[in-house]
């Protein structure tokens, strides 16, 4: 039974979908553009920007203070942000930053830029199917096991997104992972149906 499957610790990590979301969506995003986006609402200091970033993207790796201040200095250097002044609000004195007109234009350019679809996806499953054929193994059995592993993960993600109180960020990030796993499954189904031809091609080459 699949329910007794004992995969590695990462497999059943409850925040799988969230970490996937971070890796696939948030990581490629530019910290400078995120900070510019946070500054779009008005001047802010580094500590507040870090807090708001971590609140807005709860599944992302929290920004390090050093990264925030380094990025702010680069934004100032490039004319996309400038120092508004200093303020303490009862605490330690902090430097306030605000976006410049050039920063606003850069943000508009970035948000309007269409992310190019990946032209090619590295497919480890396909490689293993081919190598299994080369080694005179059982590619159909391999695909069945892979399918079972994908389904186990999809059940886990579905449980995460349908749990009572799941917020929309959690639902959408789980949906992102589910949709990609589903695409893998469709590919596996098609490949399983074409194994005879594939085996002939691979072994003849």
């Amino acid at each position: 039974m699949i329910g007794r499957f004992r995969p590695g610790p990462r497999f059943f990590t409850e925040d799988y979908s969230l970490s996937t979301y971070c890796e696939c969506i948030l990581s490629p995003m530019s910290t400078r553009h995120i900070l510019l986006g946070l500054l779009a609402g008005g001047p802010s200091h580094g500590y507040d920007l870090k807090r708001r970033h971590d609140e807005r993207f709860p599944q992302a790796r929290p920004l390090a203070y050093g990264q925030v201040y380094t990025t702010l200095q680069r934004l100032v250097r490039d004319g996309l942000a400038e120092v508004e002044g200093t303020g303490s609000e009862g605490g330690p004195e902090r430097t306030l930053y605000r976006s410049t007109e050039a920063g606003g234009r850069e943000l508009t350019r970035w948000t309007g830029e269409i992310t190019p679809p990946a032209p090619f996806v590295t497919n480890e499953i396909f490689a293993k199917v081919v190598v299994t054929i080369l080694a005179a193994g059982d590619p159909a059995g391999h695909l069945q096991l892979q399918r079972a592993a994908h389904m186990a993960r999809m059940r886990e993600l579905t449980a995460v997104k349908t749990a009572p109180g799941a917020d929309l960020t959690t639902v959408l990030s789980a949906d992102y992972a589910l949709t990609h796993l589903d695409a893998d499954l469709r590919w596996m189904t098609t490949t399983a149906a074409r194994l005879t031809t594939l085996t002939a091609e691979v072994t003849a080459a």
Binding site: G141, Q144, L145, A148, A149, R155, T158, T162, T179
Partner: protein, 235 residues
């Protein structure tokens, strides 16, 4: 995984063979459904999924093999007893709902209770409660043609569950819905079935729908082919 009190599966099929004319729909299919379990049966079009459901629900008789529900062989029961089981212990949901178009949502859900002897007022009261559970009480006076696909399907779920069945058979319950409506229907079905302890046999070609289930069996050419993979995964 829960089972009946005596530890046996609630529903068990062995060696099912069924042909429609010259087309062999089932070729030795076998599976077990445990009490309260949600089991997805997946496979490509023409793999025999719907025929399997019809055999398991006692809607058609297999040419060979057995279907055991509790202590009874469904494949050998007289039609009268099968009809009684379908009315009292089984609920069925189809892809297009198959609600009675002339009746309101409330009367569609009340009908199975009235066929089992309940008075109209009592039946409508209970039907209203089930429409509430599926979030469509506001549509109680609408006829199927006046509802969205998702609303109609939730009415179908209420109709399937209103009699307190032990098993709900759902044949592509989201097949005619967009993804968001399908998600709402599946969430409602799974949550309600778990609350009520009802087993669900879910037929689907959609892996994202199958992921709502506790377990999956995969049909190909009329036989279950995923047993091996599941056993391997259990090691």
């Amino acid at each position: 995984m829960s089972t009946d009190d005596n530890g046996t599966p609630l529903l068990a099929a062995r060696g099912l063979v069924k042909a429609h004319g010259k087309t062999q729909a089932l070729r030795g299919a076998a599976l077990e459904l445990r009490a309260g379990e949600i089991l997805a049966v997946t496979g490509a079009s023409g793999s025999g999924k719907s025929t399997l459901l019809h055999c398991l629900a006692g809607i058609v008789r297999p040419d060979q093999g057995s279907v055991v529900y509790g202590q009874e062989r469904l494949d050998q029961l007289p039609e009268r007893r099968l009809s009684e089981l379908r009315r009292t212990e089984f609920g069925v949901v189809f892809q297009f709902g198959q609600l009675i178009p002339e009746l309101t949502a409330l009367d569609n859900v009340a009908l199975p209770l009235m066929l089992s002897g309940a008075g109209r007022r009592e039946a409508q009261g209970k039907a209203g409660e089930w429409l509430e559970r599926f979030g469509v009480r506001g549509q109680k006076d609408l006829r199927p043609g006046e509802m969205s696909g998702g609303q109609a399907q939730r009415v179908s779920l209420a109709r399937a569950l209103v009699t307190g069945p032990k098993v709900v058979f759902a044949d592509e319950p989201t097949g005619a819905l967009d993804s968001l409506a399908g998600e709402q229907v599946m969430t409602a079905l799974v949550h309600t079935a778990r609350e009520a302890g009802t087993a669900v046999l879910l037929i689907t070609h959609d892996a994202q729908v199958a992921a709502y289930a506790d377990r999956e069996v995969w049909l190909r050419d009329g036989a279950v082919v995923s047993e091996h993979a599941q056993q391997e995964m259990a090691r």
